[in-house]
Symmetry: C2
Subunit: 137 residues, 2 copies
Protein backbone atom coordinates (compact mmCIF):
# COMPACT_ATOMS: atom_id res chain seq x y z
CA UNK A 1 0.00 0.00 0.00
CA UNK A 2 1.60 3.35 -1.01
CA UNK A 3 2.34 5.76 1.84
CA UNK A 4 0.21 8.91 1.84
CA UNK A 5 2.04 11.92 0.37
CA UNK A 6 1.30 15.63 0.19
CA UNK A 7 -0.10 16.80 -3.15
CA UNK A 8 2.63 18.31 -5.35
CA UNK A 9 1.93 21.81 -6.67
CA UNK A 10 3.46 22.03 -10.12
CA UNK A 11 3.57 25.73 -10.90
CA UNK A 12 5.95 25.50 -13.85
CA UNK A 13 8.22 28.24 -15.15
CA UNK A 14 7.22 31.91 -14.85
CA UNK A 15 5.79 33.63 -17.95
CA UNK A 16 9.15 35.26 -18.72
CA UNK A 17 11.13 32.01 -18.62
CA UNK A 18 8.42 30.23 -20.60
CA UNK A 19 8.55 32.85 -23.37
CA UNK A 20 12.36 32.99 -23.32
CA UNK A 21 12.50 29.14 -23.23
CA UNK A 22 14.87 29.01 -20.28
CA UNK A 23 14.89 27.20 -16.95
CA UNK A 24 13.07 29.13 -14.23
CA UNK A 25 14.95 28.91 -10.94
CA UNK A 26 14.08 30.03 -7.40
CA UNK A 27 16.25 33.09 -7.95
CA UNK A 28 14.49 34.21 -11.17
CA UNK A 29 14.10 37.97 -10.77
CA UNK A 30 11.13 38.15 -13.15
CA UNK A 31 9.05 35.32 -11.65
CA UNK A 32 7.42 37.45 -8.89
CA UNK A 33 6.06 39.88 -11.50
CA UNK A 34 5.27 37.57 -14.39
CA UNK A 35 3.44 34.49 -13.02
CA UNK A 36 2.79 31.59 -15.44
CA UNK A 37 -0.78 32.77 -16.01
CA UNK A 38 0.30 36.21 -17.29
CA UNK A 39 2.28 35.35 -20.39
CA UNK A 40 0.81 38.15 -22.54
CA UNK A 41 1.92 40.73 -19.96
CA UNK A 42 5.52 39.59 -20.41
CA UNK A 43 5.29 39.30 -24.21
CA UNK A 44 4.12 42.94 -24.39
CA UNK A 45 6.80 44.31 -22.04
CA UNK A 46 9.50 42.16 -23.67
CA UNK A 47 8.61 43.35 -27.18
CA UNK A 48 9.09 47.01 -26.27
CA UNK A 49 11.75 47.03 -23.53
CA UNK A 50 13.43 43.66 -23.88
CA UNK A 51 13.86 41.21 -21.00
CA UNK A 52 17.38 42.32 -20.08
CA UNK A 53 16.34 45.97 -19.82
CA UNK A 54 13.40 45.01 -17.60
CA UNK A 55 15.73 42.99 -15.34
CA UNK A 56 18.25 45.87 -15.20
CA UNK A 57 15.51 48.41 -14.44
CA UNK A 58 14.16 46.24 -11.60
CA UNK A 59 17.61 45.66 -10.12
CA UNK A 60 18.05 49.43 -9.75
CA UNK A 61 14.86 49.68 -7.65
CA UNK A 62 14.03 48.61 -4.09
CA UNK A 63 11.87 45.47 -3.99
CA UNK A 64 8.87 47.41 -2.68
CA UNK A 65 8.77 49.46 -5.90
CA UNK A 66 9.33 46.69 -8.45
CA UNK A 67 5.70 45.57 -8.87
CA UNK A 68 4.67 49.17 -9.66
CA UNK A 69 7.58 49.53 -12.07
CA UNK A 70 6.53 46.35 -13.90
CA UNK A 71 2.91 47.54 -14.09
CA UNK A 72 3.93 50.90 -15.51
CA UNK A 73 6.30 49.27 -18.02
CA UNK A 74 3.56 46.87 -19.18
CA UNK A 75 1.17 49.84 -19.48
CA UNK A 76 3.68 51.88 -21.52
CA UNK A 77 4.55 48.92 -23.73
CA UNK A 78 0.85 48.36 -24.41
CA UNK A 79 0.40 52.00 -25.43
CA UNK A 80 3.50 51.80 -27.67
CA UNK A 81 2.17 48.65 -29.38
CA UNK A 82 -1.13 50.40 -30.08
CA UNK A 83 0.59 53.62 -31.21
CA UNK A 84 4.09 52.62 -32.40
CA UNK A 85 4.95 56.12 -33.58
CA UNK A 86 3.96 58.29 -30.61
CA UNK A 87 3.36 55.84 -27.74
CA UNK A 88 2.81 57.39 -24.31
CA UNK A 89 4.31 60.67 -25.54
CA UNK A 90 1.30 60.94 -27.87
CA UNK A 91 -1.12 60.18 -25.04
CA UNK A 92 0.57 62.84 -22.85
CA UNK A 93 0.40 65.37 -25.66
CA UNK A 94 -3.35 64.69 -26.18
CA UNK A 95 -4.06 64.98 -22.45
CA UNK A 96 -2.11 68.24 -22.24
CA UNK A 97 -4.17 69.64 -25.13
CA UNK A 98 -7.41 68.56 -23.43
CA UNK A 99 -6.16 70.18 -20.21
CA UNK A 100 -5.38 73.45 -22.01
CA UNK A 101 -8.79 73.45 -23.74
CA UNK A 102 -10.55 72.79 -20.44
CA UNK A 103 -8.57 75.53 -18.67
CA UNK A 104 -9.59 77.98 -21.41
CA UNK A 105 -13.27 76.90 -21.11
CA UNK A 106 -13.10 77.29 -17.32
CA UNK A 107 -11.59 80.77 -17.66
CA UNK A 108 -14.40 81.83 -20.03
CA UNK A 109 -17.09 80.38 -17.71
CA UNK A 110 -15.52 82.09 -14.68
CA UNK A 111 -15.47 85.40 -16.57
CA UNK A 112 -19.17 84.97 -17.54
CA UNK A 113 -19.99 84.23 -13.90
CA UNK A 114 -18.16 87.37 -12.77
CA UNK A 115 -20.04 89.50 -15.31
CA UNK A 116 -23.34 88.00 -14.12
CA UNK A 117 -22.41 88.69 -10.48
CA UNK A 118 -21.66 92.34 -11.35
CA UNK A 119 -24.95 92.65 -13.27
CA UNK A 120 -26.87 91.10 -10.37
CA UNK A 121 -25.19 93.49 -7.92
CA UNK A 122 -26.28 96.41 -10.12
CA UNK A 123 -29.85 95.06 -10.24
CA UNK A 124 -29.86 94.62 -6.46
CA UNK A 125 -28.72 98.26 -6.08
CA UNK A 126 -31.53 99.40 -8.41
CA UNK A 127 -34.09 97.26 -6.52
CA UNK A 128 -32.89 98.76 -3.21
CA UNK A 129 -33.33 102.22 -4.69
CA UNK A 130 -36.89 101.39 -5.81
CA UNK A 131 -37.67 99.96 -2.38
CA UNK A 132 -36.34 103.06 -0.61
CA UNK A 133 -38.10 105.33 -3.10
CA UNK A 134 -41.48 103.61 -2.71
CA UNK A 135 -41.03 103.32 1.07
CA UNK A 136 -40.51 107.06 1.44
CA UNK A 137 -43.75 107.93 -0.50
Amino acid sequence: MPSPSLPTVVQGPCAACKVLRRRCTDTCSLAPYFPPSEQLKFVIAHKVFGASNIVKALQELPESKRADAVSSMVYEANVRIHDPVYGCAGAISKLQKQLNDLQAELAVTQAELLIMQCQQQQQNDIASFYDRDLGSD
Copy 2:
Protein backbone atom coordinates in the same frame (compact mmCIF):
# COMPACT_ATOMS: atom_id res chain seq x y z
CA MET B 1 53.87 70.17 -55.43
CA PRO B 2 50.76 68.37 -54.10
CA SER B 3 47.73 68.37 -56.38
CA PRO B 4 44.74 70.38 -55.07
CA SER B 5 42.10 68.14 -53.50
CA LEU B 6 38.56 68.71 -52.22
CA PRO B 7 38.30 69.18 -48.45
CA THR B 8 37.32 65.96 -46.73
CA VAL B 9 34.30 66.17 -44.39
CA VAL B 10 34.99 63.84 -41.50
CA GLN B 11 31.64 63.29 -39.84
CA GLY B 12 32.65 60.24 -37.84
CA PRO B 13 30.36 57.49 -36.57
CA CYS B 14 26.78 58.28 -35.54
CA ALA B 15 26.02 58.67 -31.82
CA ALA B 16 24.64 55.11 -31.61
CA CYS B 17 27.71 53.48 -33.19
CA LYS B 18 30.02 55.65 -31.08
CA VAL B 19 28.29 54.57 -27.85
CA LEU B 20 28.12 50.92 -28.96
CA ARG B 21 31.78 51.09 -30.17
CA ARG B 22 31.02 49.66 -33.58
CA ARG B 23 31.80 50.71 -37.14
CA CYS B 24 29.18 53.06 -38.58
CA THR B 25 28.42 52.18 -42.18
CA ASP B 26 26.34 53.91 -44.86
CA THR B 27 23.55 51.46 -44.12
CA CYS B 28 23.41 52.19 -40.37
CA SER B 29 19.69 52.40 -39.59
CA LEU B 30 20.23 54.57 -36.49
CA ALA B 31 22.56 57.18 -38.07
CA PRO B 32 19.75 59.36 -39.55
CA TYR B 33 18.18 59.76 -36.09
CA PHE B 34 21.23 59.88 -33.84
CA PRO B 35 23.81 62.22 -35.43
CA PRO B 36 27.28 62.36 -33.83
CA SER B 37 26.37 65.56 -31.94
CA GLU B 38 23.44 63.92 -30.14
CA GLN B 39 25.12 61.22 -28.10
CA LEU B 40 23.08 61.84 -24.93
CA LYS B 41 19.85 61.31 -26.90
CA PHE B 42 21.03 57.81 -27.84
CA VAL B 43 22.40 57.00 -24.37
CA ILE B 44 18.98 57.81 -22.86
CA ALA B 45 16.94 55.80 -25.41
CA HIS B 46 19.45 52.91 -25.27
CA LYS B 47 19.32 52.70 -21.47
CA VAL B 48 15.55 52.22 -21.43
CA PHE B 49 14.70 50.45 -24.69
CA GLY B 50 18.04 48.96 -25.80
CA ALA B 51 19.54 49.55 -29.24
CA SER B 52 18.17 46.36 -30.80
CA ASN B 53 14.60 47.16 -29.70
CA ILE B 54 14.93 50.66 -31.17
CA VAL B 55 16.19 49.21 -34.47
CA LYS B 56 13.35 46.63 -34.51
CA ALA B 57 10.73 49.29 -33.72
CA LEU B 58 12.00 51.53 -36.53
CA GLN B 59 12.09 48.68 -39.05
CA GLU B 60 8.37 48.10 -38.46
CA LEU B 61 7.57 51.72 -39.42
CA PRO B 62 7.59 53.59 -42.72
CA GLU B 63 10.59 55.91 -43.06
CA SER B 64 8.39 59.00 -42.85
CA LYS B 65 7.36 58.06 -39.30
CA ARG B 66 10.73 57.00 -37.91
CA ALA B 67 11.97 60.43 -36.79
CA ASP B 68 8.76 60.96 -34.77
CA ALA B 69 9.07 57.46 -33.29
CA VAL B 70 12.66 58.18 -32.19
CA SER B 71 11.62 61.51 -30.65
CA SER B 72 8.79 59.90 -28.71
CA MET B 73 11.04 57.03 -27.53
CA VAL B 74 13.71 59.50 -26.36
CA TYR B 75 10.99 61.50 -24.57
CA GLU B 76 9.59 58.38 -22.87
CA ALA B 77 13.04 57.15 -21.92
CA ASN B 78 13.82 60.55 -20.39
CA VAL B 79 10.63 60.43 -18.30
CA ARG B 80 11.45 56.84 -17.19
CA ILE B 81 14.98 57.88 -16.13
CA HIS B 82 13.53 60.71 -14.04
CA ASP B 83 10.76 58.50 -12.62
CA PRO B 84 12.02 54.89 -12.81
CA VAL B 85 8.98 53.48 -11.00
CA TYR B 86 6.07 55.10 -12.83
CA GLY B 87 7.61 56.66 -15.99
CA CYS B 88 5.13 58.02 -18.53
CA ALA B 89 2.32 56.00 -16.90
CA GLY B 90 2.78 58.21 -13.82
CA ALA B 91 2.71 61.37 -15.93
CA ILE B 92 -0.48 60.16 -17.67
CA SER B 93 -2.09 59.34 -14.33
CA LYS B 94 -1.27 62.83 -12.96
CA LEU B 95 -2.65 64.51 -16.09
CA GLN B 96 -5.85 62.42 -15.93
CA LYS B 97 -6.32 63.46 -12.28
CA GLN B 98 -5.79 67.13 -13.21
CA LEU B 99 -8.28 66.69 -16.06
CA ASN B 100 -10.89 65.15 -13.71
CA ASP B 101 -10.37 67.94 -11.12
CA LEU B 102 -10.71 70.59 -13.81
CA GLN B 103 -13.86 68.95 -15.24
CA ALA B 104 -15.38 68.95 -11.74
CA GLU B 105 -14.45 72.62 -11.25
CA LEU B 106 -15.93 73.50 -14.65
CA ALA B 107 -19.17 71.64 -13.80
CA VAL B 108 -19.49 73.57 -10.51
CA THR B 109 -18.79 76.91 -12.24
CA GLN B 110 -21.31 76.12 -15.00
CA ALA B 111 -23.93 75.24 -12.34
CA GLU B 112 -23.22 78.53 -10.48
CA LEU B 113 -23.60 80.41 -13.77
CA LEU B 114 -26.93 78.69 -14.45
CA ILE B 115 -28.22 79.57 -10.97
CA MET B 116 -27.15 83.20 -11.49
CA GLN B 117 -28.89 83.28 -14.89
CA CYS B 118 -32.11 81.99 -13.28
CA GLN B 119 -31.85 84.53 -10.46
CA GLN B 120 -31.23 87.35 -12.94
CA GLN B 121 -34.22 86.23 -14.99
CA GLN B 122 -36.37 86.35 -11.84
CA GLN B 123 -35.06 89.84 -11.02
CA ASN B 124 -35.77 90.98 -14.56
CA ASP B 125 -39.35 89.68 -14.23
CA ILE B 126 -39.77 91.57 -10.91
CA ALA B 127 -38.28 94.73 -12.43
CA SER B 128 -40.71 94.45 -15.39
CA PHE B 129 -43.57 94.07 -12.91
CA TYR B 130 -42.47 97.23 -11.04
CA ASP B 131 -42.09 99.11 -14.30
CA ARG B 132 -45.59 98.08 -15.44
CA ASP B 133 -47.02 98.81 -11.98
CA LEU B 134 -45.48 102.27 -11.75
CA GLY B 135 -46.32 102.98 -15.40
CA SER B 136 -50.00 102.25 -14.80
CA ASP B 137 -50.23 104.71 -11.82
